[in-house]
């Protein structure tokens, strides 16, 4: 079974008491070869799933923090090929679900079939490509994704109509990425009353798929609040800022994740 599907199944059965935490980071940032270290520290710190960003020159859905990390990663020499090399043996020590997030053009240039094949070989479980239209995915690429067991994660926003949400739910597998507000990543923080009524509206729709809430989630209070309305939440820009300011990546990543999930610092003690 796909690791993402498996995770949410277990969660439903009550094996995980808290909300699920998905963490985004940009591959090749702050340094080109930090990707694997960060991934491992995220797992060790208690992230439930991870979304690795493939840097792009024109990340139109992202706010300034993630844009700058994309610029830096590209300047460091990051590319899709190098990322696949860095992740080649990741399943030797990574057991949590791993997704790749990015924009559609680099995937098209790599070749969608080649890309999915490589993902399956490495053990990538899903893709998030915000500028891939649903109709194009369904007619041209779903068959390829399916044949390699790669899930395609769709987004819904407060402006998405009910009929379109139903349609997205119908074609989704794994989870639905719930964008909390009309914004790019990192531009607003917090969970407002408006958002809560939108989350409740989604809850009332009894969708097939679980939801993770992203955009504006930055710390323990926002994570907990979002988790009350969905299976869990996604942190991106706030985590990029941690990486930016860190002098000790492993330690800082782990303590940030523990703090967000509110695990005690030292379980042994």
């Amino acid at each position: 079974m796909n690791r993402i599907v498996n995770l949410f199944e277990q969660n439903k059965e009550g094996n995980t008491s808290n909300g699920l935490l998905n963490v985004y980071f940009t591959a090749g940032f702050p340094e080109l070869n930090d990707t694997s270290r960060i991934l491992r520290a995220l797992q060790d710190g208690g992230a439930d799933l991870v979304e690795i960003g493939m840097p792009y020159s024109d990340p139109v859905a992202d706010g300034e923090t993630i844009q700058r990390s994309n610029d830096q990663a590209l300047e460091n020499g990051m590319s899709v090929k190098i990322l696949f090399d860095q992740l080649e043996n990741m399943r030797e020590h990574i057991s949590i679900p791993v997704l790749l997030m990015g924009y559609v053009n680099p995937v098209l240039q790599f070749g969608v079939e080649n890309f999915c094949k490589k993902c399956a070989e490495i053990g990538i479980d899903g893709l998030i490509l915000p500028d891939m239209p649903m109709d194009v995915y369904l007619t041209e690429y779903k068959r390829i994704f399916d044949s390699y067991g790669i899930l395609n994660i769709f987004l819904v926003t407060p402006q998405t109509s009910e009929s379109r949400i139903r349609q997205i739910d119908e074609v989704s597998e794994g989870f639905i990425y719930t964008v909390s507000s009309a914004s790019v990543t990192g531009s607003k923080s917090g969970v407002s009353d408006d958002m809560e009524s939108y989350f409740e509206r989604l809850n009332a729709m009894n969708l097939r798929n679980p939801r993770l809430i992203g955009f504006g989630i930055k710390d323990n209070p926002t994570f907990r609040k979002a988790s009350q309305h969905a299976a869990g939440a996604i942190i991106g820009s706030a985590f990029i800022r941690v990486l930016q300011e860190s002098n000790d990546l492993e330690q800082d990543v782990k303590s940030f994740i523990r703090e967000v999930k509110n695990y005690p610092e030292t379980i042994e003690a």
Binding site: V60, T157, Q159, T160
Partner: protein
């Protein structure tokens, strides 16, 4: 009926594509905005009330129809019949205003309170700020930080017109980044804002909508040519292509006349092989840029490449999806002119006809010697803009 179905179609299809190019490759956050436009644009444009207001403004505000001028001395030099479509005489100095008038009327009918736009050289920004002043609508223009430094006079014009000019500070800090910022602004303000894209690029329906607003150019060429030569169709229509809005307008009503050669001129910059070029069809590959599948300049890894041209209006790494289709299908003839050739052509037109052209339009003029047009041929060059904004560049070439 079957013959009609077999006829090649160069206009957008019901799904928003030109062959395999076009579509709407946008994040879900933009879907409702684009959907609202897609569902309404054709109907609004067709309304008699819209048409009346649009045509009235084009006539009495923009100054249309713009002349179709037979350039006698140029014709003599190149031994053919050269006509210049004088878009340089439009209010604000270029064809750009045809589109911004259309889109501001559309935005008003959609109940929008604010307009956002991107600009490179500042021509589209000025044309947008102009119609926003006219209609009393708030205007925000994104412009690359580098372009703000390079295009000070147009920044001043926009500010005087009441627009807020915001710098795009990420990426290469030029037109493509300004476009990204304008899209982000639209994502953050989905309900009350209309995004006026300045060229035939972006997600469907933008390429078609902008082409329709610019199609007045070829509509006028047809009847003006009939008046002056007795024939509605020329042998050649020549236009420069950055994103391609003036070319889209100049080609529009000739697309189905297969004997009219449609020549699109891209900016070769310092030369196709120089690494400093903006000749998209020569150097690019199919991919996705700013919401549509088109041809764009990119690295092997699919990162968008920063183009180069002496002309800021042609300095764009892609072309509109319709142009990609015209190139791919062979309906369009794609050529390029270097910086040097464009400047020479600008001086030639200035000295022989007393018209100072924009650097963009000069790329189209630079092709006159290479067209292979004969004595009896009719050549229409779309003179898309005037050269006032380029004087500081031209001055460097005056001894």
């Amino acid at each position: 009926m079957e013959a009609v179905a077999e006829k090649k179609l160069y206009h957008v299809d019901a799904r928003g594509y030109y062959g395999s190019f076009g579509g709407a490759f946008i994040p879900e956050m933009l879907y409702p905005n684009v959907e609202e436009l897609r569902e309404n644009y054709l109907q609004i444009i067709a309304e008699p009330d819209f048409q009346k207001e649009f045509n009235d403004l084009l006539k009495n505000y923009v100054g249309r129809p713009t002349p179709l001028y037979r350039a006698g001395r140029l014709s003599e030099k190149y031994k053919t019949n050269i006509f210049l479509k004088r878009e340089d005489l439009c209010h604000t100095g270029a064809h750009k205003v045809n589109n911004t008038i259309g889109q501001i009327l559309l935005a008003k009918r959609l109940g929008k309170k604010r307009v956002v736009a991107e600009t490179g050289a500042g021509q589209h920004g000025v044309a947008t700020a102009t119609v926003c002043a006219l209609m009393d609508i708030e205007c925000i223009v994104y412009m690359g930080e580098l372009d703000i430094e390079r295009q000070a006079p147009n920044v001043a014009r926009m500010k005087m017109l009441g627009a807020e000019v915001r710098p795009a500070t990420c990426g290469s800090r030029t037109l493509k980044d300004a476009t990204n910022e304008a899209m982000r602004h639209w994502i953050n303000n989905p309900v009350d804002t209309h995004y006026i894209i300045g060229s035939v690029v972006g997600p469907h329906p933008y390429p078609d909508m902008v082409a329709r607003f610019q199609s007045i150019i070829s509509e006028e060429i047809r009847w003006q040519l009939k008046e002056q030569t007795g024939s509605e169709t020329p042998d050649y229509v020549v236009a420069c292509v950055g994103g391609g809005s003036n070319a889209a307008g100049a080609f529009f009503h000739f697309l189905e006349d297969e004997d009219v050669k449609l020549v699109a001129v891209e900016a070769a910059g310092k030369g196709l092989e120089s690494g400093h070029s903006a000749a998209t069809t020569a150097l690019g590959k199919p991919g996705v840029l700013h919401g549509s599948r088109t041809i764009l300049m990119q690295t092997e890894d699919g990162q968008v490449v920063e183009p180069f041209s002496i002309s800021a209006g042609l300095d764009y790494p892609g072309i509109g999806p319709q142009h990609a289709y015209l190139f791919d299908s062979g309906r369009g003839i794609f050529m390029s002119a270097t910086d040097e050739e464009a400047v020479q052509a600008a001086f030639e037109l200035t000295r022989m006809e007393g018209i100072i052209p924009a650097l963009e339009s000069s790329h189209a003029l630079a092709l006159l010697g290479r067209l292979g047009a004969s004595l009896n041929d009719t050549v229409v060059v779309n003179l898309s803009g005037r050269g006032d904004k380029d004087m500081s560049t031209y001055m460097k070439y005056i001894d």
